[in-house]
């Protein structure tokens, strides 16, 4: 399903080169729930961004669902992000001026669904994450946990091949974190959703089937 071969990523900040990932090899099977853990700055988020096609590796190959991302054009990459990947962020990243329903509907609208159809599906997904009653609210009117659940609904509405989650519980309290992780687990269990989650919280990582640990840009376990 996902295969990274000898992937390295370096950033340039002025005169300084920073190596975020070094020679990473990784395979993820379809339907797998993988946690990537490690300390801050070890390259977890970069790894996630490479898999999601948000940026390109400096060296190595990233193949997702049979597609070598390096061979895709800008337009194909856009379509790949839209149709194959769902992303959940630590900071939720909901658009503040849209209601929760509109936020969730947005990826379907981008896919070409009619407004009515997208809205109906968004309501269904909001109900699935327990937010039916918050559909007309804007992000600043709901709690952190609710925002993250809405973000999850948005990531899933296009039924992506892979769900990427970047510290999904990083901004949540203990109880809310548990609720959100339960949702991830249910999704994986009941729908066979492939999930790759970056986290530094052991409690969150415990929900995953497998854990990959990074240190200084290398896979150590």
């Amino acid at each position: 399903m996902i295969e990274l071969s000898a992937v390295s990523k370096t950033y340039r900040r002025g005169e300084v080169e920073i190596a975020a990932l070094r020679q990473v090899d990784l395979k993820v099977q379809a339907g797998e729930f993988l946690a990537i853990t490690g300390k801050s700055g070890c390259g977890k988020s970069t790894l996630l961004h490479l898999i999601g096609g948000l940026e390109a590796p400096s060296r190595g190959r990233v193949v997702v669902a049979g597609r070598d991302l390096a061979t895709l054009t800008e337009r194909e990459l856009t379509l790949f992000r839209r149709d194959c990947v769902g992303v959940v962020f630590q900071a939720f990243n909901l658009l503040p001026l849209l209601t929760l329903e509109e936020n969730v509907a947005l990826p379907r609208v981008l896919q070409g669904a009619s407004s009515a159809q997208a809205a109906a599906e968004a309501r269904r997904w909001l109900a699935l994450v327990g937010l039916a009653h918050r559909a007309a609210h804007k992000p600043h009117q709901v709690s952190g946990g609710e925002m993250q659940r809405a973000a999850l609904a948005r990531a899933l509405i296009n039924r992506p091949a892979v769900l990427l989650a970047d510290e999904p519980t990083g901004n949540l309290d203990h109880a809310t974190s548990r609720q959100v992780m339960e949702l991830f687990a249910a999704l994986h269990r009941e729908q066979g959703q492939t999930i790759i989650m970056v986290t530094h919280a052991p409690e969150a990582a415990a929900y995953a089937q497998r854990e990959v640990r990074l240190r200084d840009g290398r896979v150590v376990a």
Binding site: L54, R81, R82, N93, L106
Partner: protein, 861 residues
Amino acid sequence: MRLWLLRLPLRHLTEFPGRTLLGVLGIALGTAVYLGIALAGESALESFRRSVAAVSGRAEWRLSAPGAPLPEELFLQVRRLPEVRAAAPVVESVLELEGPGFGPVLLLGVDPFAEAAIREYEFEGASGGRAALEDFLARPGTVLASEPLARRLGLTAGARLRVTAGARVAELAVAGTFRAPGGLYPLEGAVLLMDVAGAQELVDRIGRLDYIDVIGRLPGEETAAALRRVLPPGVEVNWPGAQARQMEGLVASYRLNLQVLSAIALFVGMFLIYQSVTLSVVRRRREIGLLRTLGLGARQVLALFVAEGLFTGLVGGLVGLFLGLLLARGALGLVTDTLTSLYTPVAARHLSLNPQLLLQAWALAVLATLAAALVPALEAARTRVRAVWFREELEEVLTRRAWRLAGGGLLALVTAGALAALEARALPIPGFVAAFLILLSFALFTPVAALLLGRGLAPGLGRFIGVAGELGCRYLSGSLSRSAVSIAALACALGMLIAVAVMIGSFRETVNLWISRSISGDIFFGPAVFSTAAYDRYLPPEIVAELKGDPEVRDIYLYRCVRLPFRDRYVLVIGGSFDILAKYGGMWFRQGDSVAILQEMAAAAQAAPPGDAAPGAVIISEPLAETFGWREGQVVELPTPSGPRQVQIRGVFYDFRTDGPSLWMDLHQFRRYWRDGHLNAVRLYLRDPGRVQEVQASLQARYGGRYRLLALSHQDLRHGILEIFDRTFAVTYALEGVAVLVAVFGIITTFLVLIIDRERDLALLQAMGASRRQIVGMVLVESGLASFLSFLLGAGAGSVLSLLLIFVINKQAFGWTIRLFFTPGIYLQSLVLVVALGLMAGAVPAWRAVKPHLAHILKEE
């Protein structure tokens, strides 16, 4: 793009109504000024065109002599010609109705029987139309008032009107009213009809006609050709509408200048939109990144931001149309006053709503907004998906690009210089393009200037004011993405203001100098309502004879002026006593000894026999030389009532009359060519120049009872000329004021956004122990420096631009050589104004930034 996605820009626009309103207002004001000026100019000209059409009626051809009346007998000859189906004689003059607010009125002296074929009037009197017509024909001094004039002044049959005709006052009786077909009247209905013989007597034109209107029997040009074959030399056959075209040619430069100045307001509005969309892109980089992550394509991002600008343009344009209509009403008065005092009586009370102009103004607003929004929108679309998480990256890019932008500015400046050197006559299009390039170049210098100023002043201000000073400087050079555009917008508006003020100041000083060097004489004596547009107002001949015998008067300069239709414009032909001019210092010539030239011309003209066919000598004004590219020594052909004449140009003199280019000759020669003994005015040179006031008073006592005459001292004349000058430029100042207002909006928006955007930084500084005073100080240092920088750039742009306006655009548009006079006042005023405004613009957000909700701000992400 899916319409659903338009919710995003729309929500942003409605979520921040204050900012949106400022953007909309910026474009609306720009559009309003553009449309207002265009509509006022168009309405004034349309009114003039209607006047011409109303007076022309069904006439196909108009016979007239160049700048002179026709002999009456010609009408009888023309009427008998087989090629002529109908002909009507007309005497036309502008009278002044006495009474507060009554103003000018057009007198048409007509023959009602001949008129019927050309113009159809309906007459109405106390006992019916027929009685009114009988009164009109039978009783001398009787007029018919147009229906709108009668309504406006409450005139009924039997009413009496006091008018000034030339230098004389007369009383006219109203026999009734008349209605013109289709409600078309010249001068917005201020028209009196009089029997042709009565009019000839009233305006001192016995035995003469101003023109004869003709309907031919042959199709099209054939009648004109037939007429030209049989008419005596000096009589011209023209299409009646030609007058309107010549007037349009005369005022074309005036209109273009206003139009370009009004476009500046729109240009500044474009900066506002550019800035607003740029700020939007900067603020929403996170959102763009997210949308790109969710699968939004680059083109869709572009479309979203262009749409945001477009909404502002569409709405701002519409609001601008509405404001423009209101503004046009105000501007109409100013424009018609200026046209009347400079060119010809124009009375336009109603706006002509030209849908094409409305559409053009709206389209211009939308296109300007699109162009302004496109650059930042492209920037947004090019943004890499992940780079959007870092706002600081944009600042880095801008800092790196600052020098490249400055290089672009230098290139624009060089191009402007090359364009300014191009030759252009009448419509200085390359000059205007150069003006925009100069503004653009200084706008492009802004990032480098902000970097240098911020970095350069940081250590000094740090020592002087403390940390607030240093941080203020750093923020100025570190937030180019947000502040550079606003600084540039204000600099452009200030640049225009300074340039126009320097140009007007220099122009005024040059005119002052010109009055001293070119206009000699102690007293200027002529008809009270002598305007350059009324050449048929004469000085009663007996007065000249009396003045010649006056012991107080040493010399008299005699003056006669006619307006000659020449090619596609009007030229003033002036006859004067050149021997007197030479005796009192001559004129201000471009080259050559003016006294010697004038003496020689006067001697030659006085010695020439009556039928002399040798080329005469003339001197011409600089604007005439520029208009037709004529030079000293050149021989040109001049149409005159005695036929075309060859004349040699002996000199070119500086001239700042605004009523068009002029050609001067000695009065003796003028009278040979024009066969006209009238005088319009005289200049008196006194034996004792210290007795000007006494002589003025005695002239008033001697002639005041009989005539309406005006005796102006040299000083009065100077004041009068400068007053007209100031009135003419009032519109210009108003336009520039609007541009500055628009730019000030920009500065206020910028600082509001800048501080809201930096709320977190400022809260952090406070949390770390910075006092409120330091925070406010820091914001004020930044806004004060930004305004100061706008001033520096504006002063630079304004100075360069003023050179372009003075030495290129004015020279090309009007043919005037203006001398540059330094006017430090405008620089000082702009500095005080802009820094005060900048500090005020910073004060509000600074106060907002120190409100005590630190924890909330710091917690919020």
